[in-house]
C-alpha cells in the first residue's frame, strides 16, 4: 500500500526517483535541441551497447590500471611524508614550502613536464598523476598526525614499545579516518587527472578515446564512455572504500 507520502519516505526510493527525474529532463531538453548536440538517453544507451561490443572495456581496464597504480603510489609516498612531517617539526619547517608549491602547480603543467622530460611512455604518465596527488595526501596525513593523542603515545612509551611499534600500533589506528578521507578525495582527483594524461600523451584508455570522439564530434560516444567509467569509479567507492571505512572505524 503506497500512498504518495510513504512512497517518498524511503531514502533509496527518493534517490532513485531523483535519477529518473534527471534522465527525464535530459530527454526533454534533447528533444528540443539538435540531436547531434545533445543525444537522447536512448541514443546514448544504444551507443553504450555498441561500444561494449567494441573496445570499451579494454580502454576502461587500461585506465583503471593507471588509476590504481598511481593511487597506491601516491597514498604510500604521501602518507610516509605526511606522517614524518607531522611528527617532526623540523621536517615540517623545511618542507612546508615545497608542499605549498606542489599543491599549487596545475596538473597540466606536471603532466606536460613529465612527458617532455621522460618521454611519452607509461612510466611518465603514472609519475605525472602520482606527483599531482602526493601533496594532498601529505597535507591530510600531516594534519592527522598533528592531531594524534600524545597521551596514548605515552602509554606505549611506558610499556617500552619501539618507535616502529608505536607508529604501527598507536599512531596508525588514530590516522585511519584521515587515510580513508585521503583515499576518497584521492580517487576522485586521480581518475580525472588520468583522463587528461591519456588525452595528452597515450594511445589507449578512456581519455584517449574521448579525445578521438572529440575530433569526430561524436557526443553520444563521449557520453557513453563517461557514464560507464563513472559507474566503475562509483562502484569502487561503494564496494571498496565504504566497507573499508566501516571496518576501520567500527569502534566509533
Amino acid at each position: 500500500m503506497f500512498t504518495r507520502e510513504n512512497f517518498l519516505n524511503n531514502e533509496i526510493i527518493r534517490r532513485l526517483f531523483s535519477i529518473i527525474i534527471l534522465t527525464f529532463i535530459w530527454g526533454l531538453v534533447s528533444y528540443f535541441l539538435d540531436k547531434d548536440i545533445l543525444p537522447s538517453p536512448i541514443t546514448v544507451a544504444e551507443s553504450i551497447k555498441y561500444h561494449s561490443s567494441q573496445e570499451l572495456f579494454f580502454h576502461i581496464s587500461v585506465t583503471l590500471f593507471r588509476v590504481a597504480t598511481s593511487f597506491f603510489l601516491a597514498m604510500l609516498i604521501g602518507s610516509v611524508i605526511g606522517i614524518a612531517m607531522g611528527r617532526k617539526k623540523i621536517l615540517d619547517d623545511y618542507f612546508d614550502g615545497w608542499l605549498i608549491l606542489g599543491l599549487n602547480i596545475p596538473a597540466v603543467v606536471t603532466i606536460i613536464l613529465c612527458f617532455l622530460w621522460f618521454g611519452l611512455n607509461e612510466a611518465a604518465a603514472i609519475l605525472a598523476v602520482t606527483i599531482n596527488k602526493i601533496p594532498t595526501v601529505t597535507v591530510i596525513l600531516r594534519e592527522g598526525t598533528k592531531a594524534v593523542d600524545e597521551k596514548l603515545v605515552d602509554v606505549g612509551k611506558i610499556y617500552k614499545l619501539s618507535k616502529f611499534k608505536i607508529i604501527k600500533e598507536i599512531i596508525l589506528p588514530q590516522l585511519y579516518p584521515y587515510l580513508v578521507s585521503a583515499a576518497r578525495s584521492g580517487l576522485a582527483l586521480i581518475w580525472k587527472i588520468v583522463l587528461v594524461v591519456e588525452l595528452l600523451g597515450r594511445s589507449n584508455g578512456v581519455g584517449f578515446k574521448i579525445y578521438e570522439f572529440f575530433s569526430m564530434f561524436d557526443i553520444a560516444s563521449i557520453l557513453s564512455y563517461t557514464f560507464v567509467f563513472v559507474f566503475f569509479i562509483m562502484a569502487i567507492e561503494w564496494f571498496f572504500i565504504k566497507p573499508l571505512e566501516k571496518r576501520l572505524t567500527s569502534w566509533r
Binding site: 596514548l152 605515552d154 612509551k157 611506558i158 610499556y159 600500533e169 569502534w251
Partner: protein, 252 residues
C-alpha cells in the same frame, strides 16, 4: 644489619635538580620543581604522595617512569638505573585505546606473551567485567574504563606501579570499590606502589606510608607510617583521629 638494610632499600629517588621552563608572557621563567630531593621506598610498599596541586607530584611519577628524563640526579631500582625496569602507570584519565576492545586493551602490553589471553580473562574476572570483554571503551562507563585501565596496569605484573590520582572525578561509591580492587590486586604480587593524591582520606585508607610534599620546590614535610589494619573504615575513631592529627601537623 647494614647489608640487610641495603637489600630492603629498593627504589631510590635522588633528584638533585629538576627545572620546568615556564613562559609567562614573553618572560622565560625557570620553575624549580625539585632541589635535593631524596626518597627511598621499600619493595612491596604502598606509599601515597600527598600534596597541593602543582607541587610536582605528576612530574615525580614521570621522572620515575622515564617519560621525562630531563633532570639532574639518579633514580635507581635495586642499585641499577631504573630505565629498563617493568613499570606500570595508571594515569589520571584511563587512556584506553578506543579502537581496541576492553580485553584487547588489557592484553596490549603483553601481546607477545603466550598466555596473554589467559592473563586478560583472569584480570577481567577479577575486575568483574567478564561480560564486557568485547565492548569498546566508549560503550563503558567511566568507572568501568578505570577498572580496565587498572587491569592493564597490572597485566605485565610490574615491579613498580605508579598511580596518578586515578580515582579523581568518580563518585564516592565507585571510587571506594576501585580502591578495594586496587588493594586486592596489590596483595597478590605486592608490587611497589606509588600513589599520588590530594585526598587525605584516600591516602590514609590505602597507604603504608604517606609522604607529604610542600609547595615548590617540593620538599618532604612529613613521612608518616600508617599502622591501622586493613580494611580501614573512614568512619572508625582511629581513622578520624589520625586524619585530624595529620591535617593539623601538615597545615602551616
Amino acid at each position: 644489619m647494614e647489608i640487610n638494610k641495603k637489600k630492603m632499600l629498593i627504589l631510590n629517588i635522588n633528584i638533585i635538580k629538576k627545572i620546568f621552563p615556564l613562559k609567562v608572557g614573553n618572560v622565560e621563567k625557570k620553575n624549580v620543581i625539585f632541589k635535593n630531593f631524596d626518597l627511598k621506598i621499600n619493595t612491596g610498599e604502598l606509599i601515597c604522595i600527598f600534596g597541593p596541586s602543582g607541587c610536582g607530584k605528576t612530574t615525580l611519577l614521570n621522572l620515575i617512569s622515564n617519560l621525562d628524563n630531563n633532570f639532574n640526579g639518579l633514580i635507581s631500582y635495586n642499585n641499577k638505573k631504573i630505565t629498563k625496569e617493568k613499570i606500570g602507570y595508571l594515569f589520571q584519565s584511563p587512556r584506553l585505546f578506543p579502537w581496541l576492545t576492553a580485553k584487547e586493551n588489557i592484553e596490549f602490553p603483553i601481546k607477545q606473551e603466550k598466555n596473554s589471553k589467559k592473563i586478560s580473562s583472569n584480570l577481567l574476572q577479577k575486575i568483574g567485567l567478564t561480560k564486557f570483554g568485547n565492548s569498546f571503551p566508549n560503550k563503558l562507563s567511566g568507572g568501568m574504563q578505570r577498572r580496565i585501565a587498572l587491569a592493564r596496569a597490572f597485566s605485565t605484573q610490574p615491579k613498580i606501579l605508579l598511580l596518578d590520582e586515578p580515582f579523581v572525578s568518580l563518585d564516592n561509591k565507585i571510587a571506594n570499590q576501585l580502591r578495594k580492587l586496587l588493594i586486592n590486586l596489590w596483595k597478590q604480587k605486592k608490587p611497589t606502589i606509588i600513589f599520588v593524591t590530594h585526598d587525605l582520606n584516600e591516602a590514609i585508607q590505602l597507604s603504608d606510608r604517606i609522604i607529604f610534599l610542600s609547595n615548590l620546590p617540593a620538599k618532604i614535610l612529613l613521612d608518616y607510617k600508617i599502622k591501622i589494619k586493613r580494611p580501614r573504615s573512614s568512619n572508625s575513631a582511629k581513622f578520624q583521629s589520625l586524619k585530624r592529627l595529620l591535617s593539623a601537623s601538615v597545615k602551616p
